[in-house]
């Protein structure tokens, strides 16, 4: 399946945030969106998810204009992982993940045995089965992020949009989340994520898109897009992209800020 934006203008009725964004995501692919604060990443995501109407252009899901689809139909195709947050009521982790099944339930139905099975499978895959009876509002931020990813999996959509899934997580949890993202793509799920850490793009992305003041300034393979001049232009600070060799063989690129102190 394919999710694409065609010359998309996005924002709110009285003020546009971005314009002329064209990009495409296929299932099984990880696309990482980089951009400074206020560049419009979250607004773009909300528009791609159909939560905000496009100001111009269109969002296509498998070639069909998303604005003609119902909420249920969109939710069966694309799931959304918001930034880990508090909840208003103390639902258990199991109940929270179960909410991912909503788009598959009839309007008047409650979850059935089949939904519980899909929920258990999603939690197993993310490795949070032991948290099932914990209260969502009482677990740590890292665990909440994993719960929200499990909820997106339970939704059984071919595409997942994640808004800064590594924000506010400790170093270990950041890497754990990135590993889950790679595993999802290996299972044929397309992932679109935003992050503030260019190294995360090196770690998990197939392709990178760069958003600056609401416009796409670069979009392509990690190797071609993630260069020092591009990153320097995007963030407005001098950076160096270096290749480091890893113990035990192989090498990986990292991005370092220059000119400190």
């Amino acid at each position: 399946m394919k999710l694409s934006a065609q010359s998309l203008g996005f924002g709110y009725r009285d003020h546009g945030v971005g314009s002329d964004v064209t990009l495409e995501l296929a299932s099984g692919e990880v696309l990482c969106l980089l951009g400074p604060n206020g560049s419009g990443k979250t607004t773009l995501f909300k528009t791609l998810l159909g939560l905000l109407p496009p100001l111009s252009g269109a969002v296509l899901i498998d070639g069909r204009d998303a604005s003609t689809l119902t909420r249920e139909a969109i939710a069966r195709q694309i799931s959304y992982v918001p930034q880990a947050h508090g909840a208003f009521f103390p639902y258990t982790v199991l109940e929270t993940v179960l909410m991912g099944r909503t788009a598959h339930l009839g309007l008047f139905s409650a979850p059935s045995a089949r939904d519980y099975a899909a929920t258990a499978a999603a939690m197993e895959r993310i490795g949070i089965s032991h948290l099932a009876d914990a209260i969502y509002t009482q677990i740590s931020g890292g665990e909440r992020q994993l719960v929200l990813i499990a909820r997106a999996l339970a939704q059984e959509a071919r595409m997942v949009v994640m808004d800064e899934p590594t924000a506010n997580l400790d170093f270990g949890n950041q890497v754990r989340v990135l590993e889950r993202i790679r595993a999802l793509s290996a299972d044929g799920i397309g992932v679109l994520l935003s992050t503030h850490d260019p190294d995360h793009a090196f770690l998990c992305a197939d392709r990178v898109a760069m958003l600056h003041q609401g416009r796409l300034v670069a979009c392509g393979d990690v190797v071609t897009v993630m260069t020092a001049p591009q990153l320097q232009q995007l963030y407005g600070i001098p950076v160096s992209v270096t290749e480091v060799s890893l113990q035990g063989g192989g090498s990986r690129k990292i991005c370092l800020p220059l000119g400190m102190l």
Binding site: R13, D14, P82, F89, P90, Y91, M99, T102, Q155
Partner: protein, 337 residues
């Protein structure tokens, strides 16, 4: 359904049965439990009870309708409160947050002011409650670019105070010898004048209001998430929210129309129910209904038996509800944290 929910439901149902029996037995004309059973068996088509006909009149004509009214009103207010607390993602919300009570009061007070009959006054209260919420909803939908829930609450507060001014004006203009006492009495809430005919009208309306709440029970859970999150999960939030508001408003309006303004039940009862069962609405709703019904039957029994005159229900629910709520607030935060 886990073991805990089954225990909670069984305990709540047993407590409700005990409270109902007590309500039938207590009053200025006490009825022994054995006599009560005999009258009820006879009413159900069993053997003649051979008791003083006064006993039968007290049980079936006087206390029966009143107990049923207390059950219906308590259950309705608690169910509507539970739904609104989920909808507004706030455990401190009560059923009259959108101005339903204020609207019903205006309707009823206008009816009393115009010296209409009791049925007309109740109808006006019902219509007033529905109209107030409809107005709040239309105003909130017209305001764009803000959090839809915040706008709803603000519109409710603003319209509520406007209607309050209207009520104050009518109290000021009312005849102080018969209209003003009637208005005051109505504002304090009472089940003393509920007739079987009232129940035949209000009961079906309450059930009709309950229907969407029960049918949409799972969607109502998801509605307690952020608006955008709920939509991304496949919930058409605007339509579901409207259905919940219509259902809860119908239940509350019908309750206020026959019983006047009774506060605290819709706020405190769902809160306690959530402590017992957790927030899942498919368990929260039935437990709230049972607790709300039992609580109001108990309070109404107190209201007509602790003093020589009846204590107004609204006063008593506040006297009992406030300390209960504060105690709960101080001892446990689990219900909403």
């Amino acid at each position: 359904m886990n073991t805990r929910s089954i225990v909670v439901c069984a305990a709540a149902a047993a407590a409700l049965a005990a409270v109902i029996a007590l309500a039938f037995a207590t009053g200025s004309y006490p009825v022994a439990f054995a006599d009560l059973l005999r009258v009820l068996l006879n009413w159900l088509g069993g053997a003649a009870h051979g008791l003083d006909p006064t006993v039968e009149t007290v049980v079936l004509q006087i206390r029966g309708p009143r107990v049923i009214a207390a059950l219906l009103v308590g259950a309705s207010l608690a169910a509507a409160g539970a739904a609104y607390q989920n909808l507004f993602r706030n455990p401190l919300v009560s059923p009259d947050i959108l101005g339903v009570s204020a609207g019903a009061v205006v309707g009823a007070v206008l009816g009393i002011f115009l010296s209409l009959g009791i049925v007309a006054i109740q109808s006006m209260a019902l219509a007033g409650g529905l109209a107030a919420v409809a107005m709040v909803y239309v105003v909130a939908r017209a305001v764009r670019g803000h959090d839809p829930l915040l706008v709803l609450v603000l519109a409710g507060v603003v319209l509520g105070s406007l209607l309050g001014a209207f009520v104050a004006l009518m109290k000021y203009l009312a005849d102080p010898y018969n209209q003003l006492p009637a208005i005051t009495f109505w504002l304090l809430g009472s089940l003393a004048s509920v007739s079987p005919r009232d129940l035949w009208i209000a009961g079906p309306l309450m059930l009709a209001g309950l229907l969407p709440l029960w049918l949409l029970r799972w969607r109502i859970n998801v509605l307690s998430l952020d608006d955008e999150e709920a939509r991304a999960l496949g919930v058409a939030t605007v339509r579901i929210r409207l259905a919940v508001i219509v259902g809860a408003t119908l239940m509350t309006s019908a309750a206020v129309a026959i019983a006047g303004v009774i506060g605290w039940i819709g706020l405190v009862i769902p809160h306690f129910a959530r402590l017992l069962t957790g927030p899942d609405f498919s368990r929260l709703l039935p437990v709230s209904i049972v607790l709300g019904a039992g609580f109001l039957v108990a309070v109404d029994t107190l209201a007509r038996s602790i003093a020589h005159i009846e204590v107004p229900l609204g006063v008593l629910t506040a006297f009992i509800g406030t300390p209960l709520f504060l105690w709960q607030l101080m001892t446990a935060r689990r219900g909403w944290q």
